[in-house]
């Protein structure tokens, strides 16, 4: 008898609970487009926010809801992921050129002598709100690694030799978090370039030439020699600083040798031959 009462009472409690749960699930059901889930499946799932939406699910919702794929791009997944997304949704995804984060400061320990020793919190933003930094350059990298902390892909690290951050081209997804994290706006997203070949001015110092040069041996002094050399109008000089427009640059490499401070960097090019011009032409052809 005791057993029977126990079984019945428990059974009743269970049944009431089940009914309640069923009613609640019907009443509070939220419809979600199943495609949102499908899109989210193919996304990288890093929730980095590089697309401009709150996480991957936000991006997936946006993709499903919008009529065209204009302006919707997952820089992390790149073209492959976007192709998958467009197959699921049956909408054309635009192709975006692969980009990569580029550190525009070459003020390593040798080039940029220290004028004081920072003893506060090891954080670039804190230091930046305090003062110009440990060297005479008020534009250069602090080297405390706010960009490293923020990177979700382990793609940027401080090189202990130079004290500067270095980007791993293969791991970098051009999500732009480091660009936002840098209080000095040193990091820029630039076209990755064929075979990761890029030419850029690795300095953002807007001081007058003399001041900049005194602070850092590798500083751009705004002399304008590179701009004169450039045949494609890609280099502009503004506020004592040269800037190479990556959309116009043909990677001819003519600007780098004329720079008196070596502020223009070239990455992943073969070593320069005697006849630099030949290589340059070759490269130009490749880009075309």
């Amino acid at each position: 008898m005791m057993i029977l009462i126990a079984v019945i009472s428990l059974g009743v409690i269970g049944a009431v609970g089940a009914l309640f749960l069923y009613a609640a699930s019907k009443k509070f059901e939220v419809y979600e487009d199943p495609r949102i889930g499908q899109v989210q499946e193919v996304l990288p799932g890093a929730n980095c926010g590089a697309c401009g939406y709150p996480g991957c699910s936000g991006f997936a919702t946006a993709c499903v809801k919008s009529d065209t794929m204009d302006g919707l791009n997952c820089p992390v997944g790149g073209a492959a992921t976007m192709a998958q997304v467009s197959t699921i949704l049956g909408k054309d995804a635009g192709t975006a050129e692969p980009m990569v984060a580029v550190v525009r400061c070459n003020g390593n320990c040798d080039a940029r002598p220290k004028t004081n020793r920072y003893d506060g919190a090891r954080n670039c933003s804190v230091a930046s709100s305090l003062y110009m930094g440990e060297t005479g350059c008020s534009y250069g990298c602090f080297g405390f690694g706010d960009c490293v902390t923020v990177c979700a892909f382990d793609a940027i690290h401080i090189n202990p030799q130079t004290g500067l951050p270095e980007v791993d081209d293969d791991k970098c997804t051009s999500c732009g978090l480091c660009v936002k994290a840098c209080p000095r706006k040193i990091i820029e997203l630039r076209k990755k370039g064929p075979k990761s070949r890029r030419v850029f001015v690795s300095c953002i110092n807007k001081d007058k030439g003399g001041v900049a040069r005194k602070a850092c041996a590798n500083a751009c002094i705004g002399c304008g020699k590179c701009a004169k050399e450039c045949a494609f109008d890609a280099i502009t000089i503004e506020n004592n600083l040269a800037y190479i427009d990556y959309n116009k640059c043909r990677l001819c490499r003519k600007c780098a040798p004329v720079c008196p401070t070596g502020a223009i960097l070239e990455t992943n090019f073969p070593p320069r031959k005697e006849k630099a011009v030949e290589t340059a032409t070759e490269n130009t052809n490749k880009t075309e």
């Binding site: 220290k114 004081n116 020793r117 920072y118 003893d119 919190a121 804190v126 305090l130 440990e134």
Partner: protein, 318 residues
């Protein structure tokens, strides 16, 4: 000459974690002397074993599991060891103490990420683990025997709270015995005067504020006082409650643990009242004679909630 540069302020009080930890240890000295006097060798052995094994586990875990520089001498592991020992009977076998230390440091502290990140007071985690795992050994209390040279082989008896709970009407120790510490119990909890001396020292050195201990003691006194007024034949008077069991040790040294207690003063008082209420309820109506450990343990779990709802008094109102 390269000057140092940092944001303000440019001077520091000179206070440090280890200063605070050693300050608490100094405050524990009177209670330790009392237990040495009443429990003799046992008190010494239990404390030494507990401290040594806490240090050992702290070192091993930091060095080999967390792969970082061990911080043995910041005093926190020593303090955990002493507090654990103070919560144990002085005739507890060595191997049980070592297990307690392992649980306290390994599970109570290091599994959360080390000092500052733990949710529960590590010594309490160790103590409660032992209480549940070894109920027999953990509740046989040696009877005080002045300067005893015996360790495990001692005469045992019941604590005040057990006597009350059993309701046999056996005679309780006198108030003088309660104040000096001449009663059965965990080795560090017996000497009421010595514990209060420790409290005064910590208040003077500004290691803790009065809020937690006072709110716990006041709550227990008020609650048990009301029950005593209702039915003096069934319930013990509030003074007995204040002076018995681990109430003073818990209120002064265990509940005030920095890491696991709330940040704001109002929060500390809520936390103290919670501990006081839970302790009283367990003591009066629970199946255990003493509820201090459980009460602190439960309120530790509420600390994050208290912190997010009870903020410090804000300048200019809200």
């Amino acid at each position: 000459m390269n000057l140092y540069v940092s944001p303000s302020p440019h001077i520091h009080s000179g206070d440090s974690i280890s200063k605070n930890m050693y300050g608490v240890l100094i405050a524990l000295i009177p209670a330790f002397l009392v237990s040495l006097y009443f429990f003799g060798l046992g008190a010494l052995v239990v404390t030494l074993v507990s401290v040594a094994s806490c240090l050992l586990f702290e070192f091993l875990i930091q060095k080999f599991l967390m792969k970082k520089e061990p911080t043995l001498w910041d005093g926190s592991a020593i303090l955990t060891g002493v507090l654990l020992a103070f919560n144990l009977p002085s005739n507890l076998p060595v191997w049980i103490i070592v297990i307690g230390a392992l649980v306290a440091i390994g599970i109570g502290k290091m599994s959360f990420g080390g000092l500052g990140n733990n949710i529960f007071n590590p010594a309490l985690v160790g103590r409660i683990f032992l209480l549940i795992s070894f109920p027999a050994q953990m509740t046989t209390w040696p009877v005080p025997e002045v300067m005893s040279m015996n360790y495990t082989d001692v005469e045992t008896g019941a604590t005040i709270l057990t006597l009350i709970k059993d309701g046999t009407g056996a005679e309780l120790p006198s108030y003088v015995q309660m104040l000096t510490g001449d009663r059965a119990g965990s080795l560090g909890e017996v000497g009421a005067i010595a514990l209060v001396l420790g409290l005064l020292f910590m208040l003077w050195r500004k290691i803790i504020t009065w809020h937690i201990p006072v709110s716990i003691l006041a709550t227990v006194a008020a609650f048990t006082g009301i029950m005593y007024a209702v039915d003096p034949t069934q319930y013990a008077n509030p003074l007995v409650h204040l002076l018995s069991g681990g109430l003073l040790l818990g209120a002064i040294f265990m509940a005030t643990d920095y890491v696991t207690s709330p940040l704001s003063k109002a929060g500390m008082i809520v936390y103290g009242i919670g501990i006081g209420l839970l302790t009283s309820v367990i003591r009066l109506w629970g199946s255990y004679p003493e509820g201090m450990s459980f009460a602190i343990f439960i309120m530790n779990a509420f600390t994050p909630l208290i912190n997010s709802y009870i903020k410090p008094k804000h300048f200019g109102g809200n």
